[in-house]
Amino acid sequence: MTDNTQNPILRVKNLTIDIPTATGTLHAVRGIDFDLMRGETLCIVGESGSGKSLTSLALMGLLGRAIRPQADVMDFERTALLEASPKTLRSLRGARMSMIFQEPMTSLNPSYTIGDQLMEALLIHGGTSRKTARGRAIELLQKVGITAAESRLSQFPHQLSGGLRQRVMIAMALMCEPELIIADEPTTALDVTIQAQILRLLVDLQAEMGMALILITHDLGVVARIADKVAVMYAGALVETGPTADLFAAPSHPYPRGLLNCIPLPGKPDRCETGHYCGHRALPRGGGLGLHLPHQM
């Protein structure tokens, strides 16, 4: 396969996720588009419930049986993710695209050692020996800044702090040197000091390994520092997408404008007004957003 750097590694056109519920269909994600090049960082921002996590789970094919995403295009390299067989998807997951989750405390299996869980992806995909996998696990634990890496392999998740567990999760996602990493708010559950460390680590590793990164976050400061592109989601739709500098300089949509105003600045009055969100169900499908934003009124 020729790696054409002009071709995006990930192409998404009109991704829609409908969730059937007892009271009607919930249009959780409503026709979003974006492209991601190799080595690029895309930050998806938006408030809770805006569909960020669902989008990332849809990319990984982890939405489960009840929820069927639809899209005109959802390609990872040349693989159409929505048409691919479960087997093809399994061969991609963990090997060429991997994910770091929001909850380090519960995302590791309590019954297996850190070493077992680290080596698992490599043993599933790589066809390598346990010894090689072990070496790789130690190497990556060191890379994510865990001291005494070798002795950590025989420890269990409950013996590690939240920050350490998230580092283990990152190491785990990197085991097979994936081309795409999706990190869903990887630092929300951690202390502020640890948050900065973990993010820096992630960005450094991304640059070192040349991976594409989708980072889902609330933190606009992080976005300004690391993102090449930003996608702002609101109520399941992409309200703004573009290069980071443009967004911060001149947001065209009222919602990101409101969002930027939410960054507290010393000496400035609090102008945090992002509007009242009236619930997904009340919104018309696709098309115009029924937002009640202060800027429009």
Partner: protein
Amino acid sequence: MLSFILKRLGLAFLVAVTVSLISFVLLYLSGDPAIALAGEGASSEDIAAINVRYGFDRPMVVQYGAWLLSALTGDFGESYYFKMPVSSLLAERLSVTMLLGLCGISFALVTAVPLGVLAAMRPNSIIDRFALLLSVAGQAMPSFWFGLILVVIFSIKLRWLPASGSSTWAHFILPTVVLGYYAMPAIMRLTRAGMLEVLSSDYIRTARAKGASEGRVLFKHALRNAIIPVVSLAAVQMGFMLGGSIVVESIFALHGAGFLAYESISRNDLPTVQALVLIFSMFYIIFTFTADVLNAWLDPRMRSA
């Protein structure tokens, strides 16, 4: 892990000593054994003679010490009714009961765990409904009735299996089904509930994100965590099957320990009852100890407890 096992062993030993003391004292509280032995109209000389012969005149502590010491060497005295050593009586009866108990719990586990896993994989599906129906029926049907129905169908109508006795393996099939079916619903529902909870947990999503196959997710990642409460339950049910299979043993005329316990209680056969109570509680202690060790092996967080 080793220190955990040693700690549990020590605890099990203390429980065993306490249980033996309680069972010894309780049986003496149920009435004067000499009067029970001699019968209602016995003279005081007869009672005194019995007291001396069986050692009832000694202080309670001495009697307990002597009983425990000989019990440790396998000597439980002589049965008042059968006029033979309790130990040989037990050896004969316990083998039947233990075989039945083992078959029963195995049957229950082999049917209930896969059914629970299947039901949890597809909640509210036809399989789930079927499993629910089966477990409700199992809980609702008294085992004596279910046993008799099986005898009517398989022994009398179809003539496939013997109705009573314990001489061949075929004799154990119907009792196993009856005994196992009684324990199955609880195990099935606990497996289902545990699997449902574990399958929606974050680490299962992590396993899937690694590209693990569905079988690997189910059996390596989910079942190991979901089965932990089932292990404890199965241990208790196994103990219950040994001591409480009187009904099943009576229906199928299996002369096991449960039936012996029933007989001995009604005959005031003190040494036999004492030995049975002791043995049954020792089994309980062994099963819970095994379950604890098994659970600690399954879940490393329990090892520090």
